[in-house]
Symmetry: C2
Subunit: 127 residues, 2 copies
């Protein structure tokens, strides 16, 4: 498995709620940080609890983009619930342990929509 | 120059307001998209105008993270103005043209702070 495979398997497992497969991608000492809300979770067990109990609801997740280097990756996903779509951008640090690669650090952003400032009108088209 | 060098030079040029160096990293047909505000800018000239006229003010920019694959990269920066710090996450598609690599597509997010939902209290520490 290369780095791109690890993060693809991570989101695949999240989408299927396969927490055993999801946990298998994570280092024991994984640290999750959400800089926007200043939330931090330490360790695989606590992070699995955060994922399963912290995000209730009937959401879907779609992997949009993967950028993968040898020891790190970044993904863009769209999460959809009740017809509302929300992007998330996630950075992963990845540790090689023998033949396996484990996610060691996760930094995640959930950007919300905003209106551009008035001074930017005319400098970009809207879509 | 590899992909990491291209995006590092991009942010270095932005920080120095060196728009000639910045433009030299960009493909003629570069497309910039900001999915949160649904802004799109097409072409190098229009994008340079967006950068120079669309972001007035006395900001600083610091490159925090680079993830680089062979044809794509992702960066995290912190932009600081009047003591207020704001992260941005940027995805780059990169095109190889002979010996040079040019940025062909940019997708950028400017995530704002938020308070975690009540149901997540106890699942994460705050920092």
């Amino acid at each position: 498995m290369d780095t791109a495979d690890v993060v693809t398997a991570y989101w695949d497992a999240v989408g299927r709620r396969d927490w055993a497969a999801h946990g298998a991608q994570l280092d024991d000492q994984v640290v999750y940080e959400a800089p926007q809300s200043r939330e931090r979770v330490r360790g695989r067990a606590a992070y699995l609890r955060f994922c399963t109990e912290g995000f209730p609801g009937d959401w879907d997740v779609m992997l949009v983009k993967v950028v993968a280097g040898p020891y790190a990756a970044a993904t863009e996903i769209r999460s959809t619930e009740d017809g509302r779509s929300q992007p998330a951008v996630t950075f992963f640090d990845i540790k090689t342990l023998g033949y396996s690669k484990l996610i060691n650090r996760i930094t995640e952003y959930w950007p919300d929509p905003y209106e551009p400032p008035a001074g930017r009108a005319g400098l970009a088209e809207r879509y």
